[in-house]
Subunit: 339 residues, 4 copies
């Protein structure tokens, strides 16, 4: 902890800060400048908080030196963590594509989607059974039936299945259906109960970034999962909220190199949700890989125009095929083969 005193702080103000540091079992280091006195607290700063000092007379501000996250930090685990899903490696040298429709609608739709995913070389099948919709009057997903349809199509093609967990009460069903990768959506990034629950199991978790979460908050949310014992965490950037009305969200491409530096865990990107328009997805998908992402989560729907949810952001089978071809040569140029 560093405590910066105000210009006119008195000796007694300084002494009070020192007393508080010592009282917490740390030692102080005082540096008297020409305009400001700065006090460092040496020791385990987790017993201190900036608030404890910022309320004291003569204190201008107090700052933590250490970060809020530990287990997920690259500092303490310099090598990349590879998350394994039914034999696939996520976060290793190969790039991985997760793909499927936003919502599970029917057996026909899911079988068609699974076939496309399989045949283009994508490796994991996504599909939403429980849908978090902004409006209570919008389609909320097929629920358990959706989970079953997703499983059947995935198993039929030998693909791992990926789906979103909305509520702690659904977790049992997710385990029963043996969901391979559990997705925590943007709206639930700080749903503490949910984070703690998936921290207790041993399934890989995709943690999407909250719409206006800072990287620090995102990494700290992951720490909730990791602190429970589950280190199989995959970060997924999906666009942040900005002032720009031309797209649904603003893909934060800068988050990729910074996350890759801050954490040892894999980082993927969801370009379809981010842009909100299928025609934007190829540019954003390519940019994401070029920026260093370990994979992509793509929406593909056998018939986007008749989708029950988010149809305007889903790629058609032809568009998806075309994009996979482009990603493949891009991946080669980046030295990371598309699995």
């Amino acid at each position: 902890m560093i405590i910066v005193m105000k210009g006119p702080a008195t000796e007694s103000d300084i002494q009070s800060v020192i007393d508080k540091i010592r009282h917490a079992g740390l030692t102080e280091h005082v540096s008297r400048g020409t305009e400001r006195t700065i006090i460092g607290a040496v020791g385990d700063e987790r017993s201190l908080s900036p608030e404890m000092f910022e309320l004291m007379p003569g204190v201008e501000r107090a700052m933590r030196v250490l970060k809020d996250y530990r287990i997920v930090a690259r500092d303490v685990h310099p090598a990349n963590t590879v998350v394994h899903v039914r034999g696939l490696a996520i976060g290793g040298p190969e790039l991985q594509i997760f793909a499927g429709p936003a919502a599970v609608e029917s057996a026909v739709q899911m079988d068609a989607a699974a076939a496309i995913v399989k045949q283009t070389g994508a490796r994991l099948l996504c599909g939403g059974a429980f849908k978090p919709r902004t409006s209570p009057y919008a389609f909320q997903g097929l629920g358990m039936e959706g989970l079953e349809l997703l499983r059947d199509s995935a198993r039929g093609q030998g693909l791992p299945m990926v789906t979103e967990l909305l509520d702690v009460r659904q977790l049992e069903a997710f385990l029963e259906y043996d969901v391979d990768v559990i997705q925590i959506g943007a709206r639930n990034m700080q749903n503490i109960g949910l984070l703690k629950e998936v921290g207790r199991i041993n399934k890989p978790v995709i943690l999407k970034r909250g719409l206006s979460a800072t990287l620090n908050e995102w990494l700290t949310a992951a720490e909730y999962i990791a602190a429970g014992g589950n280190h199989n965490i995959i970060f997924c950037e999906r666009g942040i909220r900005s002032f720009e009305p031309s797209y649904r969200n603003t893909l934060d491409i800068s988050a990729i190199p910074v996350l890759k530096r801050e954490t040892h865990l894999p980082v993927i990107v969801d370009p379809c949700h981010s842009g909100g328009k299928a025609w934007m997805a190829p540019a954003l998908a390519k940019a994401s890989l070029a920026a260093g992402a370990d994979g992509l989560l793509l929406e593909v729907h056998p018939e986007p125009a008749s989708a029950l949810c988010d149809g305007d952001q889903a790629l058609s089978p032809d568009e998806f095929q075309q994009l996979m071809t482009e990603l493949s040569s891009l991946a080669a140029a980046l030295g990371r083969p598309l699995a």
Copy 2:
């Protein structure tokens, strides 16, 4: 639904849009301008979505005409709704102050807080038993014990009790302890499971605004509660995320007049969380009432410097007393007595 065609849209593009509108059971209204053709879909537009049209050739964009929320809209219920809590009226002519510490810490602390609240003329006692903390290593609240301490102090002073519900699994305990007002926090504004559950019961609910929720999203989240049958909803503005680093959040004062126009439900403000510093709270509290808020949620702690959570944003008893005096004369000038 209004569909704006692109400049070079063909007759066949236009016809396809018309066919789609008719197919959904609505009728079209075509307006051919010099540069653009505009098509209106007349009928119940809830069977349509902008996406259905934006994917079609020749379409530039499609817009809903109606809003996503109904029950909470002032359009359909022009008079103010007054929410009643143990004889107190929220959203009526009188202004109401909710107050208490961020977290329940001990019986001594809660009794002291309840006494201050009672004696200064605030009318509802708040206190967090379950705390949603950014970091897994921070104090997470006393849980059930906190609920009990809050209840005892509230009942001791004859004050209604207000506390935050974090997880659907806690709801039973909330009912058992007879929590008078259930708070849904900013992180859970779009926790659909939680919204649906509190929609099924008959307790007043404070719905805090998500950190980057638009007013439309916030109103639509309230619609989830209302659609379940519970219309006792109180909106609480608590600051939004912006680029400005000088305060924890940016109080969106403009939201107050707009919400009061858009919905018939009460609107209160939480100035302490918003600014994140106790010294900012008086200015923000006064501004909120002047802008038309129906009440305030204030943090007061018997001893802010030793608070286990958010101490830097809590008012001391003296500061709270002083603020209540100022609010009282302000309220009089605004023609709305402080209850």
Copy 3:
């Protein structure tokens, strides 16, 4: 300057930082913690920049201790500065209202506006002669003729005149027409040439906040004016850019108490531009005064529906009269009479 070293920084990394500090003529203060070493640079830190250190091996980050602004800071000038305009005091105990139409359109319009302003007790007449419009095809103002009309109407009622300076080449005309208060608009808050020019003259300057300027950037922009010798600066908050589409801009009410603490200069608010709708202005105007603003800049137009510019945000004479009455009782309750 505080330099935080990375966990695994070597002794040689630390020594290099020390060498750099000494080389710049300052002395170091090294604090070795259990997890991080922190180095303080003691002396005049303006010869250092964080960048100089952040590029060095083993350095995690470097932070300035001092602020970028000096002359405008309350630290160095604790008492309020009162800006005087033709006998009016801005920033003193009395609240001041600046009012007029967004754009000067005609003698008839300006005479009517000046009469309303005078008669309701507002004290300064505003009107735009040069208009900074987003679109090149929108009305750009009457230019010199507008300046003349504004002057004639202002002088006719004995009111000081306030108008926006867009371009350094207009300054001579502003001096010739003896403009009493020069406004620098949001788009020009960091137009360095303009800031330097108004720093050289002795006229009061209203410096509006840039749409996404932090308070630090705003204060530092004012420092450009102050550094030139002109300390007659009035800050004007006019809304910031946010993600919320319901209003033109988001009035940053929290900026008022923070600015009043950080600077000794007066702070006013422009509620009409901020909300972008006349019906929102009363709520925002009252909130601004309640939050501690020293005055308001209000738009009033004899006939808003026929205004050439921003008509939807201008108050009609009746609305303005009504608002002034409300502000007057509010001001009394706040203990600051409306001048």
Copy 4:
């Protein structure tokens, strides 16, 4: 223009809107829905503004159908515009790299920079002579002397020169020194006087995006230049302001595909300013090309650690060389050779 009436609008409200449309010389098209009446105004909508209608009783909102920009729109000019600079084509099939230091410091520095730029295959030499600094106490650039040093180094290597114009009063010197590409910086994106002046000359202009400018505002700012007769405009994305504190700005990668669709003019990206850290530049540079940018503006400094300005975001000669190699193979995979 589309005018949406409120639910309870009366016949007389509707008639008033119709009258206003006819009075402006357009014709109306009325569409009566079950819940809302919608009125289209057919004809040249530039004589109308949404404000004219939004103030009328019974009107919910009014929206323009056409965009604010014309000349720069791809609608009216479907083929790509290629901007030519001394024989180089910007916006054609080849990608172009603009490079140099943030600030011109000395002949030695500029000669070294020019040599690096030339030898790595970048094609245009940048360097700031007039620097727009946030603080008045920071290095403001060498001014005229800087212009001279830049010219000498550029001409010495046969490279076109690119530099920022801060003030209309510098334009004459820019023409005298025959600056090849004039840059308008982010802070000046809406400096109308400057835009109009560069619209009157025939030099290529790089128009950087304002920190919180929407794409519509940016395109409309370019329209100011184009309306003056100068169509040699290059858009440069350089990061927007967001809530994320980990980087200086947030590179808006989504802007690239949208701009390429909306305008026929070239689009480049400045990854160094955006991230604010040299180590982030390679990831952002690659992402920008992958997203479809026509080129990059990169900062390279012979000795970043001793740079007078923005040293932490400049690449060293080795880093620059390495990045150029990587960009070259990426460009090949994208089918657009690096010139």
